[in-house]
């Protein structure tokens, strides 16, 4: 890739992608400052690869994979250094997906913000899907980023929304609808 091209690519990254990515990472590691480092670092790695003449088909996807790995490394490193993150299932594994994400605190001693609290009942995967969706990514992009199928994205998304609705109790309407359905559903459908 020509230098000019690389320059343009990164200009575009900062124009349209950086903020989304940063927010996603910040929510994943629970710290804005750390997220800035991780994202910047992965951009620099990508840049290095490109300057070295490596062909990268999908630079965003590549960067995203790098970022996720770094998140995993970070969380694992923290885990072994004594800060406890409960593994969700199975043994401590290879990537970030297997660790509980800390809630985002903008200042160290602040309460987790409301979005973190809303997402409490979610599994790590559901949380990732929701966060990416909130950043405006299309299902195809989310699927690519997370290495899952588009259909799975749909399932995770729906399940996550459902869980949050049930948790927040704001599912009054939905619950009412369900009750009604079970009462009249058989006769009707």
């Amino acid at each position: 890739m020509e230098q000019e091209e690389i320059r343009r690519l990164f200009q575009e990254f900062y124009d349209s992608w950086y903020a989304s990515l940063l927010r996603y990472v910040a929510r994943s590691v629970g710290s804005v400052e750390l997220a800035k480092d991780l994202v910047q670092e992965s951009f620099l790695l990508l840049c290095k690869e490109l300057l070295n003449g490596k062909k990268i088909e999908n630079p965003k996807g590549w960067t995203f994979r790098v970022v996720r790995r770094q998140i995993g490394n970070y969380l694992r490193a923290d885990r072994y250094s004594g800060v406890s993150f409960e593994p969700i299932e199975g043994t401590p594994g290879r990537d970030a997906g297997e660790f509980v994400r800390p809630a985002l605190r903008v200042e160290a001693d602040e309460e987790p913000d409301r979005l973190s609290r809303l997402m409490e009942p979610l599994s790590v995967r559901e949380r990732e899907v929701i966060l990416l969706r909130l950043e405006g990514f299309r299902y195809k992009e989310i699927a690519e980023h997370l290495g899952i199928g588009s259909a799975t994205v749909k399932t995770f998304l729906a399940r996550a929304l459902k869980k949050m609705q049930e948790r927040s109790g704001k599912a009054g309407a939905a619950a009412g609808a369900r009750a009604e359905q079970s009462r009249y559903g058989q006769a009707r459908s």
Partner: protein, 688 residues
């Protein structure tokens, strides 16, 4: 009707992520299925909530993004410079560099890279023309990025001479990157909506008129774009400022506000003097200020544009006029200038609240008691009927119909919902639910919280409808209970470890609660029965009739359940205490109380009401004289009355049991839309 739509499909539909085939099926189903529509709206509400929370923490700020960008490019330049030094010859393939070990080092690499370069600040002197070009570029990049462009601009006018005057308003603009859809809102300093305009995906253009009614957008008052400096021509007098702005906005022809373009138009004029300076008004937030002055018709006009020194994103523009004994300044402060993701639930902002049946539109009023923006034409009775049922259903879903003092009224143009609720949260729930009816323009909500109602303003509590809750939860003075000893005796005999007095209290409380709850259901049923006698029902369309049926059946079913528990609870105790022979639990012979469901429901109401009164009379005590001190004669009367009351209530409950069953059958027969499924299908197929 099709099977209900799965959650995944609904969510994907809201996100616009369905394959065309599925999309068509889901859209069709949603049209005819209230249940799925409400699920869909719950999902989109949930997503909106999340998006709101996400936006509540606006990081990274544009400044932070620019800082990261600057740091990155500093390193980039250095690295490329070094690369050239290393490989000065062209065409030589560089040594491949593996990233894997670096990744393994994780954060350490970050630290290393961090020490790699010292960040440099770009501070080369720039010419005014360069700065303007760069501001234009930054504005264009932001506007052309995929998604929605959103601007929120505070407009401040201050007249200094001859008469000092300050005036403020807020302009909010949304536009999509393709430049088709557009939407704007103009609010005065109190936050009241003064003007709104929409341009939909289909290129239709709407605006509001002076009374906030929706009209097709008028063509701009001037063929050319009204320039900022022309505001002066309006005199900027108190009454004319708003007109001036509206003209200025309309003449932009569905384009977002562009500070750079304004500035260029002005600076390109004859005799303009251009200047650029770099200021640091606040620590860490340097600003580039461009200013241009011209003398126009004897008035010195100065236009100033301030942009972030790093991102070159415009933040503030103001124009000042000086001449002829008059002086004024108009400031535009862009406090939001951002790109929003192209998500489905934001798209609603581009849709005006028109009652086209094929699309669902929502407008949530800025404040709950504000009427929803409506079409100018008078709606038909049928439309109002449909809207009213939807309103009733929305309130029913929230349980408002069970005794909360909220009233539904109709006039020739609107369905009005008035009432008093406990809390602002409850009001929000109700207003949001009302805003989701098919055509919110036909609905007006005027809901007060109790506090507001107490601190003045009209009180919309409907005494006739709320009377029944006054008797709720009487304080139970057990000594007032006639036949107290007999009740105690009963509970003593039906052995249990708990003391008889405690069990009696529990019995009394639950009996009072159940009958009160049954009465709430009966009231709700009665209101529906009175509002929808058979001739009214026949006027309803299929959808409305179905909603009515759902409500009636829900109330009948709950009432049936409540009465059954009341009977189970009361029958053994009452028959024993009052010495009534136990009637075998055979279904009571249903007397024919009405020829249709509405009449039957009214009969049921009067019986449930009577049961409620009798049970509360016997158990709720109240005015009963103290049995020990009352004359023997009156105690006798009291005992006899209580016995009769118990007998009557048991008999009534049996009757109601039969009537409820009958009402259910009648309602199913009269209201059922089962036979109309084909009709629904035809309605939704045919073009609207």
């Amino acid at each position: 009707m099709d099977k209900h739509v799965a959650d995944e499909l609904l969510v994907a539909h809201l996100d616009g992520e369905l394959a065309p085939k599925d999309e068509a099926r889901v859209a069709r189903h949603l049209k005819e299925c209230w249940h799925c529509r409400s699920r869909a709206s719950a999902f989109s509400e949930q997503m909106r909530l999340l998006a709101r929370e996400r936006d509540a923490q606006p990081f990274p700020s544009p400044h932070e993004v620019d800082e990261a960008r600057r740091e990155f490019f500093a390193r980039f330049e250095e690295a490329t410079a070094r690369q050239h030094r290393r490989w000065p010859w062209v065409g030589m393939p560089p040594r491949s560099w593996s990233w894997k070990p670096a990744l393994a080092l994780g954060v350490l690499v970050g630290v290393f890279v961090g020490l790699w370069f010292v960040p440099r600040h770009r501070s080369a002197p720039q010419s005014a023309a360069d700065v303007l070009a760069s501001i234009e570029r930054s504005e264009n990049t932001l506007r052309a990025a995929p998604g929605y462009f959103h601007q929120a601009i505070r407009v401040e006018v201050s007249l200094k001479r001859p008469t000092p005057l300050h005036w403020r308003g807020e302009l909010e603009v949304w536009a999509d990157s393709e430049g088709n859809r557009y939407s704007s809102r103009w609010r005065d300093s109190a936050g009241r909506l003064r003007y709104a305009a929409w341009r939909t995906a289909g290129g239709e253009e709407f605006a509001t008129d002076a009374t906030l009614q929706l009209i097709p957008a008028p063509s701009p008052p001037a063929a050319h774009r009204v320039a900022l400096i022309e505001l002066w021509g309006y005199g900027l007098a108190a009454g004319r400022i708003e007109d001036a702005f509206l003209d200025w906005m309309r003449s932009r022809r569905w384009q977002p506000v562009s500070f750079a373009a304004d500035f260029r138009a002005f600076a390109d004029g004859e005799g303009a003097v251009l200047k650029v300076e770099r200021l640091a008004p606040a620590p860490g937030r340097p600003v580039l200020r461009l200013s241009a002055s011209r003398v126009v018709d004897g008035v010195l006009v100065t236009l100033v544009l301030e942009a972030d020194a790093d991102s070159h994103r415009p933040r503030l523009e103001y124009v000042s006029f000086e001449g002829g004994g008059r002086s004024a300044e108009v400031r535009f402060v862009a406090y939001r200038m951002e790109r929003l993701p192209p998500v489905q639930w934001l798209a609603a902002v581009f849709e005006p609240p028109t009652p086209r049946r094929s699309r669902r539109r929502r407008i949530i009023p800025a404040s709950p008691s504000q009427p929803l923006v409506a079409l100018k034409r008078v709606p038909t009775q049928a439309e109002l009927d449909a809207a009213e049922i939807e309103v009733r259903y929305a309130l029913h879903r929230l349980g408002v119909c069970l005794g909360e003092p909220v009233r539904i009224e109709r006039d020739t143009s609107r369905v009005r919902v008035r009432g008093v609720v406990d809390s602002a949260e409850r009001r929000r729930e109700i207003v949001v639910a009302l805003a989701q009816v098919e055509d919110p323009g036909l609905v007006e909500a005027n809901i007060q919280t109790i506090e507001e109602a107490l601190t003045g303003g009209p009180n919309w509590a409907a005494p006739g409808e709320t009377g029944q809750s006054a008797a709720r939860k009487p304080t139970i003075a057990e000594s007032d209970l006639p036949l107290r000893n007999r009740f105690l005796e009963y509970f003593r005999q039906s052995g249990s470890s708990e003391p008889a007095a405690a069990r009696l209290t529990a019995f009394v409380n639950s009996a009072l609660d159940i009958t009160a709850a049954a009465l709430d259901q009966a009231w709700a049923l009665r209101r529906l029965a009175e509002r929808y006698p058979p001739d009214e029902v026949s006027r309803l369309n299929v959808q409305s009739r179905w909603l009515l049926e759902v409500m009636v059946r829900a109330h009948l079913a709950t009432l049936q359940q409540k009465m059954a528990s009341a009977e189970t609870l009361l029958a053994p105790v009452f028959s024993s205490v009052a010495g009534i022979p136990r009637v075998p639990n055979s279904p009571a012979r249903a007397p024919l109380s009405g020829v249709n469901w509405a009449q039957t429901a009214l009969a049921i109401f009067s019986r449930v009401n009577r049961v409620h009164d009798l049970v509360h009379g016997v158990l709720g005590g109240g005015a009963a004289p103290d049995t020990d001190q009352a004359p023997k004669e009156s105690r006798k009367v009291l005992v006899r009355d209580a016995e009769q009351a118990m007998a009557e209530s048991l008999a009534l409950m049996r009757t109601v049991r039969g009537e409820l069953r009958q009402a259910k059958l009648l309602a199913a027969e009269e209201l059922s839309t089962e036979g109309h499924v084909a009709e629904i299908a035809r309605q939704t197929e045919s073009p609207e």
